[in-house]
């Protein structure tokens, strides 16, 4: 498969892994954060930890949109869809995320009209096909998915489709990275920068990380070789005592980003003064809301929403895991009350969530290879 197989070539991967071993100072411990949940998933899926030297520690970052969404937002979205005239639509990613009364899938099992869509424009099609219903699209995601939400609302407005609205939970990546860096218990050496987000925002917004915080960052693709090459870039910078933004994912990420996508976002969205992130708390100017000029398509402006706040179970330590302070297995609930099938915290829900990825690939491997796994 083109653009995939080249980046999984065992020979090149082995050579790159050797280069990493050459570059890494054996007397030093490296803490590299992969910001994006897609990277977390890829690192586990391809077993990359097995081929990295043990003094390179990869720390999972906040870039899993499902994981950072507070439970109250899910409750708010689902409460709107209690009305039998409302169709609740969302990406597959959202379907198993628990609200206080269960996940969208569980609501569907109880009779709610819940649909999985593959893009917001599919949700708009659903609205056109069901003129007697109101279709709400529960939008999540960083700058990766925000442009398609924006374009969908522009189309809804242009075509005058009024039985459609978007419940906006879009967040932005830069304030989250800043929150991580501001956290006093956090010590990081460098960042593996998010790939998909950067296709939209480009590399320029990361420059402060290098300039002000003196941390190297390499924007990375999602194949094994992409990630290893990014680690090589970061180790070279650390060895030379440099800190700059490098673009490993040049085949997809333009330095200046995607102007058309950014224009669409600016047309439809504005920054919220603040927004609550699960595990990180309130972060100012970290999320998007729909501008007044699109109020008619904004679920929050069109319907009255309770604005529920739900605190996570006290024992769950999602915040510490999200910030990289704790490893998933160090959380008190991990693998006991909280498993991928019955997630308590959101990090266990998405396969990009660090707890689910760790549970599926690493935890069971550790359990299985140490002693017998109960049959």
């Amino acid at each position: 498969m083109k653009f995939v197989d080249e980046f999984r070539d065992p020979e090149v991967i082995t050579r790159t892994a050797e280069e990493i071993r050459r570059l890494a100072d054996p007397n030093r411990h490296y803490r590299l954060m992969e910001v994006c949940g897609g990277h977390t998933h890829a690192i586990y899926r391809f077993g990359l930890k097995d081929i990295l030297p043990p003094n390179i520690e990869l720390i999972h970052g906040p870039g899993c949109p499902v994981c950072v969404l507070p439970m109250g937002r899910i409750d708010d979205g689902l409460s709107l869809a209690q009305d039998p005239d409302v169709i609740f639509s969302a990406f597959g990613d959202m379907m198993r995320v628990p609200g206080t009364q269960g996940s969208p899938l569980e609501h569907k099992a109880r009779g709610m009209d819940v649909r999985i869509v593959y893009s917001p424009s599919d949700a708009l099609k659903l609205a056109k096909a069901n003129p007697d219903k109101h279709v709400m699209f529960f939008a999540i995601g960083f700058e990766t998915t925000a442009p398609s939400s924006a374009l969908t609302l522009m189309r809804a407005k242009a075509e005058g489709i009024r039985n459609f609205s978007l419940f906006c939970n879009h967040v932005t990546i830069i304030p989250a990275i800043r929150a991580i860096l501001d956290s006093p218990d956090m010590r990081l050496d460098a960042f593996i920068g998010p790939g998909h987000v950067s296709t939209v925002i480009g590399c320029r917004p990361y420059e402060w990380i290098a300039k002000d915080e003196h941390k190297p960052i390499a924007v990375s693709g999602f194949e094994p070789l992409d990630l290893l090459q990014s680690i090589v870039m970061l180790l070279r910078q650390l060895k030379a005592g440099e800190a700059k933004v490098e673009n490993q994912y040049k085949r997809v990420v333009p330095w200046e980003g995607n102007r058309a996508a950014l224009r669409a976002m600016a047309e439809v969205f504005e920054l919220r003064p603040y927004f609550e992130w699960r595990g990180l708390g309130f972060i100012s100017q970290s999320a998007l809301r729909i501008r007044d000029s699109y109020a008619e398509w904004d679920s929050e402006q069109r319907f009255s929403i309770a604005g529920v706040r739900v605190t996570d179970p006290k024992a769950a330590q999602c915040g510490e895991v999200l910030k990289g302070v704790l490893k998933p297995a160090q959380c008190k609930l991990f693998g006991r009350e909280c498993t991928p099938e019955h997630p308590v915290g959101a990090l266990m829900v998405s396969s990009e969530g660090s707890c689910a990825a760790y549970y599926n690939y690493e935890h069971r491997k550790a359990m299985a290879t140490s002693l017998a796994w109960p049959a």
Partner: protein, 355 residues
């Protein structure tokens, strides 16, 4: 689908119900962990008296001194027709395959049709014709059936349930507990074709691929392997819902051993890989309708593989892994460059990841 193996001692007090899920979700039918919990925690203890026996694809019953393989299956698929097949063809082949991988020659099938009021006769006729043709091809008779009609909007057009009976091939004994370290894992051909074809045929994805369901009877392949290597065959399974990952995890738990797979040996067509990459799905979790897995004793492995490869439709068969002591009860997959990961059963329905 998995059938329930009757307990040896009739009249024994039923075991305790351990199924605690408050309601039935789609996941309970997806073939993964939740399905297994429902079967082992509710159906088996109440209907079979014991859930300790490994659950196979068919049950073995004794009728007038003769051992007979019996299996039940039901088919709910949307859309009814898809590239490479249709619900009628699936109903025959799915039933035939459950018998085949139990080491039995499929003989006869009875079918029940649950039809939705308003279903066009031509649609029904096309499916009945498809069943007749698939039955002819597979060499089974359709011996009878039943029909029920439910209200409009209740059955996605039609559902089909089947019961199939077969006679055991002599010299073939399928039992997960006979699997030993050193045994080889064989796979009859590329995986994921059926599941991805159905996903694309639903038309919700704006994705197109030159891809067909792999629905077919696997009995000719099983028979070829049995003739060449019958005494060496320890276990077989057709990896339908939940895919190869789920079938092999069930085996690992039933035999208490570790299954090691080589990722680069597992054949996946580019179009299936591409769709899986785009949607964040793992081909190992995607359903198949015309492939099967076999665990064969090492001294018979080459014989079995050669027989498969030379049989009609078996050219793409491969050896994908080996049985080890550790990691006990788990499936470990190794990449070409030395990384490894544990492959779990499917949790819930496979849901595409977008953001």
């Amino acid at each position: 689908m998995a059938s329930l193996k009757p307990d040896a001692a009739p009249g024994k007090a039923p075991a305790k119900v351990r199924f605690r899920d408050p309601q039935i979700e789609m996941a309970h039918g997806a073939g993964g962990i939740a399905s297994r919990r429902l079967i082992e925690g509710l159906f088996a203890p109440l209907l079979l008296g014991s859930a300790n026996e490994p659950l196979g694809d068919s049950a073995r019953v004794e009728i007038a001194g003769a051992q007979v393989a019996i299996t039940a299956d039901c088919f709910v698929v949307k859309p009814l027709r898809f590239p490479g097949g249709s619900i009628g063809e699936l109903a025959i082949n799915g039933t035939v395959n459950d018998l085949a991988v139990s080491g039995a020659r499929p003989q006869s099938i009875v079918a029940t049709f649950i039809l939705e009021a308003g279903l066009a006769t031509e649609v029904l006729e096309a499916e009945v014709r498809a069943m007749a043709q698939a039955a002819r091809q597979a060499g089974v008779t359709v011996a009878g059936g039943d029909t029920k009609v439910v209200e409009h909007g209740k059955a996605d057009g039609m559902y089909i349930t089947t019961t199939g009976v077969g006679s055991f091939l002599s010299g073939v004994h399928i039992n997960p507990r006979s699997v030993r370290p050193g045994d080889k894992v064989l796979l009859s051909g590329p995986i994921g074709d059926h599941g991805i074809t159905i996903l694309l045929a639903r038309g919700e994805l704006d994705l197109e691929a030159d891809l067909c369901s792999d629905t077919r009877s696997v009995f000719p392949l099983v028979e070829a392997m049995a003739i060449a290597a019958g005494p060496g065959i320890r276990w077989m399974r057709d990896p339908t819902r939940g895919g190869v990952a789920t079938s092999l995890n069930e085996l690992a738990r039933d035999c208490g051993l570790g299954l090691h797979l080589n990722e680069d040996k597992i054949p996946v067509r580019d179009s299936v890989r591409g769709a899986c990459e785009l949607l964040g799905l793992d081909p190992l979790h995607i359903a198949n309708e015309g492939q099967f897995l076999a665990v064969v004793a090492p001294e018979y492995a080459d014989l079995a593989l050669n027989a498969l490869c030379q049989a009609d439709g078996g050219a793409e068969a491969v050896m994908i892994g080996e049985v080890h002591q550790q990691p006990a009860g788990s499936v470990l997959i190794t990449t070409e460059y030395g990384g490894s990961r544990i492959i779990d059963m499917l949790v819930g329905d496979p849901l595409p990841r977008i953001c």
